[in-house]
């Protein structure tokens, strides 16, 4: 419980700091923030004064930050100057795209990496292991945008299988088109993760397979598949789970670039556009959301550990 509290305090501090940092950075831009927030559309001094008051723009940055937190807590994220709609509407519209991208990419990379990692560990230092190791190294050195360019060249420009500039389609409207359009972006993000996950799982698995309980299971005549997946897999997944959580940060970065490249209307695309158009309130909301998502996932994984692994639970109870 003490561990839990400690972690929670850390999460809160991190969230405070990231939101403060984003507001601080945006205020370094030249020009009157009130005019930027209204998009220069409002000339009425009374209205500008109202905006200034709403976001405490005439006060120092820490006060502005507190004001922003207060407004956010009340559910008021403000009005986007570039899109002229409430920021919350924008985010509601854009968030699903990015979430789908990230979740699919995570699932796809795990689906490929887990069987390959397990098999590579089972046959360590044999041909499959060596080949997959080399391939993984190559994948690690391939940035998502390079993968995307090659995929577009081959699968959309040459074979016309997938669109190069896909429209976002909700899975509830047309599931087939949804997956077809998101396929190339997801693969571009997922490939580099495959290499990371596979090599981590393989390394842990090789170590687990040297344990006595594995020899014991084998001696009892248990089938290889059962030993690998029922006995050895679970204790080998801890680095994998941490990596998958930490990787959410990398996924966000990947999603931002890939959304831009494919022209998908997600959060990354929104952030980039908002930064370019000086749409302060949107930038602040987006950055806060990214940070919240990242920190929460990592926090949950930390807590989940204790539930999954009795060793950790007890070690920490003692500490």
């Amino acid at each position: 419980m003490r561990y839990f509290r400690q972690k929670l305090v850390q999460v809160v501090i991190v969230l405070m700091a990231t939101t403060f940092l984003s507001i601080f950075l945006m205020r370094q831009l030249k020009g009157d923030p009130a005019i930027a927030i209204t998009g220069g559309l409002v000339n009425d001094p009374v209205a500008l004064e109202h905006v200034r008051h709403e976001w405490s723009l005439d006060r120092p940055v820490p006060i502005q930050w507190l004001r922003w937190l207060e407004n956010t807590a009340k559910g008021n994220l403000g009005q986007s100057s570039a899109f002229n709609v409430p920021v919350s509407t924008l985010i509601k519209e854009r968030l699903p795209v990015t979430l789908y991208l990230m979740v699919y990419a995570q699932i796809l990379s795990l689906l490929i990496a887990i069987p390959m990692g397990v098999y590579a560990a089972y046959r360590s230092n044999r041909t499959f292991d060596r080949v997959s190791n080399t391939v993984a190294f190559g994948l690690l050195s391939l940035p998502s945008f390079v993968v995307a360019i090659f995929l577009v060249l081959v699968f959309s420009l040459h074979y016309h299988l997938f669109p190069a500039a896909p429209k976002y389609v909700s899975p509830f409207d047309n599931p087939v088109l949804h997956f077809k359009n998101l396929f190339l972006p997801v693969v571009s993000i997922a490939l580099a993760q495959v290499a990371v996950y596979m090599r981590l799982l393989r390394a842990d698995m090789v170590a687990t397979l040297q344990n006595d309980f594995v020899t014991m299971a084998r001696a009892k005549g248990m089938s290889t598949a059962r030993i690998l997946f029922r006995h050895a897999f679970r204790p080998s997944t801890f680095s994998l789970i941490t990596a998958a959580a930490v990787n959410v940060g990398a996924l966000i970065g990947g999603a931002v670039i890939i959304e831009q490249l494919f022209g998908l209307p997600g959060m990354g695309n929104l952030t980039v556009e908002a930064i370019a158009r000086r749409d302060f309130l949107v930038v602040q909301a987006c950055v806060a959301l990214f940070a919240v998502g990242f920190v929460l996932v990592n926090f949950l994984v930390d807590i989940a550990y204790a539930f999954i692994d009795p060793r950790i639970r007890h070690a920490r109870a003692l500490a």
């Binding site: 850390q10 501090i13 991190v14 969230l15 700091a17 990231t18 940092l21 984003s22 950075l25 945006m26 370094q28 360590s124 230092n125 190294f137 190559g138 690690l140 050195s141 391939l142 940035p143 998502s144 945008f145 390079v146 360019i149 090659f150 577009v152 060249l153 420009l157 190069a164 993000i189 580099a192 290499a195 990371v196 090599r199 981590l200 390394a203 090789v206 170590a207 040297q210 680095s239 930490v246 990787n247 940060g249 990398a250 966000i252 970065g253 990947g254 931002v256 670039i257 831009q260 952030t271 980039v272 930064i275 370019a276 930038v283 987006c286 950055v287 990214f290 940070a291 990242f294 990592n298």
Partner: protein, 298 residues
């Protein structure tokens, strides 16, 4: 993303590339791939440095519309772009900017992150707690978004991009150096030095630092690879160094709209970028095996 992205992946990569327990006993000789990587890095650096004097490197800004959109040939090794500029030449000058930006950023990152990491790992207590919290905050900020925010507020010059990238590299480097320092600060020779009455500064710089340098170098190489990719990512968002200075990322973006008809404009810089990143990763991996850097993640 740079990624992959990006600063978060430094510790991740380290974990991925770390040596397996089964192979610890036997030290493998550097492979052919390793020597090829070293050759590529050195060759690239030399060509980039002496680009002005080399006969096969032309003027990167010279446009020649007669030769626009030429596919790769013996005259134009990598083809030409829509203004008839030689892509090979531009890739060479791109190497100059890309390597310089990544190199400068990692040096700054090492100087700042390394110092803070050393102090936090050695003195522990309050310094350590505050640093760890600060590192958590920096790592919670999505790397690319942070870089984006910095360049979009400060501008898109070489200096600003270097600043953004070095800020990104500081937090992971603090973490790595701190972890290494923790390990060495408890070793016998450090105790011995303290027992002999050595001052903190001496212990830090004469006893601990030399032992931490190998892992710093190793991470610097992997970090270089990550930062080259990060610069490419920034370029993709239109937030890196702009015309007329070519960087690889910028060249790739420039050719993307015409990918269907003139694939070489994007693909050639992509290949160069890939080979360079791969080389840095391979050499970094080899070094981490050579110095047996495993405990750094503990």
């Amino acid at each position: 993303m740079t990624s992959t992205v990006i600063a978060e992946t430094v510790p991740l990569l380290a974990a991925t590339l770390a040596d397996e327990p089964g192979e610890a006993g036997r030290r493998r000789r550097p492979s052919v791939a390793m020597w090829l990587s070293v050759a590529w890095i050195i060759g690239l650096t030399l060509v980039a440095v002496f680009a002005d004097a080399l006969p096969f490197v032309h003027d990167p800004k010279r446009t020649n519309l007669v030769h626009a959109h030429k596919s790769p040939s013996s005259t134009f090794w990598f083809g030409t772009d829509k203004l008839g500029r030689d892509i090979f030449t531009r890739a060479v000058y791109g190497a100059r900017t890309s390597l310089m930006i990544a190199g400068l950023s990692i040096v700054i990152g090492l100087a700042i992150g390394g110092t803070i990491g050393l102090l936090a790992g050695y003195f522990r207590k309050k310094i350590d707690y505050v640093t760890s919290l600060a590192v958590d905050v920096m790592l919670a900020f999505p790397a690319l978004i942070l870089a984006l925010a910095i360049t979009s507020t400060l501008g898109h010059g070489v200096k600003q991009v270097v600043l953004a990238l070095s800020v990104l590299s500081i937090a992971p480097l603090i973490r790595v150096v701190r972890a290494q320092t923790l390990v060495y600060a408890q070793r016998e020779f450090v105790l011995a030095a303290k027992g002999l009455g050595a001052k903190d500064a001496r212990v830090l710089f004469r006893e601990i630092l030399p032992n931490v340098v190998p892992s710093m170098l190793t991470f610097a190489l992997t970090g270089l690879a990550i930062l080259i990719v990060a610069e490419g990512g920034l370029a993709f968002l239109g937030q890196s160094v702009t015309v007329p200075t070519p960087t690889w990322g910028f060249m790739i973006v420039e050719g993307y709209p015409d990918l269907e008809r003139y694939w070489w404009i994007s693909i050639m810089p992509c290949m160069v970028l890939f080979l360079t990143v791969l080389s840095f990763n391979l050499v970094g991996d080899q070094l981490s095996k050579r110095f047996d850097i495993k405990e750094s993640l503990a």
